[in-house]
């Protein structure tokens, strides 16, 4: 990949985070999500006192990435519009897809680090220590990829709506409910279970649980990757379609 691609991926990430000091960044991106994780694991320890808390630790560690992939990546286009760069981005000779792809690199790296950190910290406090192997690393990075692709897909909605923050929060709750991190999907009504199949992280969480119980996790890992690729393709398709729509309805500018 060319040097300009790395610059293209580094600069949006830098512009997003340079306002905060390292301490603030760490508190917001790592410590705060760990509180979210602890809350749900503590509820699980109260409601199921004799259960192995590893299930909740894994699920909620994976969900840590949702903060970054939804609220940071998901609002890329909103920020581009707010800063007045969206029109320039559309008009530039460089492809929008290249810009979108470049935006996945650092969020995937950071959310992988956050998830690993969360997994190690929470497993130390709440359950048996989880050893990070290559397979588990592969599951985490695949899940982060699909999660970030989902965030990119949502970021495209900024072309047609002003209420993206509302939508991002709604999708965060959907991940919280349907990813299988906090309760088994079998508890949900049949007609809602399909949501678990089409959202990111759910297959990754299942795959990690299977891996830790020494079962075959590869099929679920494959499905997680497939979900990521599906959302990446959807992003490419929608960016083209919604860009056209935004030109028609005049949504490229801030006002």
């Amino acid at each position: 990949m060319s040097n300009s691609f790395w610059i293209l991926s580094w600069l949006p990430f830098k512009s997003e985070n340079s306002i905060s000091s390292f301490k603030e960044y760490f508190l917001l991106e790592v410590v705060s999500p760990i509180f979210n994780l602890s809350f749900f694991v503590l509820i699980a320890s109260f409601t199921r006192p004799n259960s192995d808390l590893n299930t909740w630790v894994i699920g909620n560690s994976f969900l840590l990435s949702a903060n970054l992939s939804l609220f940071r990546v998901g609002s890329i286009m909103v920020k581009e519009r707010y800063n007045g760069r969206l029109e320039t981005l559309i008009a530039s000779p460089s492809s929008t897809f290249r810009f979108i792809l470049a935006n996945t690199i650092f969020p995937v790296i950071v959310s992988t680090i956050t998830t690993i950190f969360g997994l190690q910290i929470s497993s130390y406090f709440f359950s048996q220590s989880i050893h990070l192997s290559f397979s588990l690393f592969l599951i985490i990075i695949s899940s982060m990829f699909s999660s970030v692709c989902f965030g990119l897909f949502l970021s495209n909605l900024a072309f047609i709506t002003d209420s993206l923050n509302f939508l991002l929060n709604l999708f965060y709750y959907i991940l919280l409910m349907f990813s299988g991190a906090n309760f088994p999907i079998s508890q949900l009504p049949h007609y809602l279970r399909f949501i678990n199949d089409i959202i990111p992280l759910s297959h990754g969480i299942t795959s990690a649980k299977l891996y830790l119980s020494n079962s075959n996790f590869k099929y679920q890992l494959f499905l997680e990757l497939l979900v990521g690729i599906f959302y990446l393709n959807l992003t490419i398709f929608f960016s083209f379609f919604l860009e056209k729509k935004a030109r028609q309805i005049g949504k490229l500018g801030s006002f």
Binding site: F35, F39, S45, T47, N165, F166, N169, M177, Q187
Partner: protein, 260 residues
């Protein structure tokens, strides 16, 4: 008369301002519904005796605190951003009173989260919440409104001297859920952390609420929680008075009322 008028118009203004924001409406309406569903599913098949209280009132308390976090406390940042914070600060009506009235208005409005939790628990899961001792329940509820309003004050003050509102708002939401035992009893926490819980009024108001919902009242526990709530609120008020002097001088020295 002017005193009551200022309360009335500030509370009314807060109602209008809060409800005009889509994000507030989302936090007030959607968040308690989803929290009720999530906590219900987590408590399903558990052997917890008063699970219904934790499901319904736990999600109500979570909704109330989230609304307070993102509205009462976030309002200072919003005022700063739209450029009205310095005007409100020097207006004839005491700034502390303006903030307190708005916090009260917001807490009253945000307490609708309880109603939404009760309705959603009944609609989706057929959970009904019989109130056996309505006077105790009403007192507990009033104590929640008062205590949550008082605890919001020092946190709002911090927003006056810092522009990192997003950081603070995120950092105080879930820790309070955990420390104050909204969805599980505080005795599940390690002893050292429990010490922090005991100096937070929401811990005692939550306990008061749970105790008042039991069919067989434990008067000793209710009295204990009530006294602790009153005592802590008085200490908080004293702390607010001392803190205000420091904040007022810091605000003027560092000129933090404007965006830049």
């Amino acid at each position: 008369m002017a005193f009551f008028q200022s309360i009335f118009y500030n509370v009314l203004l807060q109602f209008k301002m809060s409800l005009s924001r889509p994000m507030y409406r989302f936090t007030l309406i959607v968040s308690p519904i989803v929290n009720t569903m999530l906590i219900f599913e987590m408590f399903r098949k558990s052997n917890v005796s008063d699970a219904a209280n934790y499901i319904v009132f736990g999600s109500g308390l979570m909704g109330l605190w989230s609304s307070i976090t993102f509205s009462s406390i976030g309002d200072i940042s919003r005022e700063r951003y739209i450029g009205t914070l310095s005007t409100v600060y020097v207006a004839p009506l005491n700034f502390n009173l303006t903030i307190f009235y708005r916090i009260i208005g917001n807490t009253i409005l945000s307490s609708m989260a309880f109603l939404i939790s009760i309705i959603s628990a009944h609609l989706f899961f057929k959970i009904s919440m019989p109130i056996y001792h309505k006077y105790y329940f009403i007192i507990s509820f009033i104590m929640i409104i008062v205590s949550f309003s008082i605890i919001s004050m020092p946190i709002s003050y911090l927003m006056l001297i810092s522009r990192k509102s997003s950081l603070y708002m995120n950092m105080i939401e879930y820790p309070i859920f955990i420390l104050c035992g909204f969805a599980f009893p505080t005795n599940k926490l390690p002893a050292l952390i429990r010490f922090i819980s005991y100096v937070l009024t929401p811990t005692w108001t939550t306990k008061l609420l749970h105790e008042s919902l039991h069919k067989n009242l434990d008067i000793y526990q209710i009295n204990h929680a009530f006294k602790e709530t009153i005592l802590l609120n008085l200490i908080y008020c004293l702390f607010i008075l001392i803190l205000w002097k420091h904040i007022d001088s810091q605000v003027r020295k560092n000129a933090t009322l404007e965006v830049v």
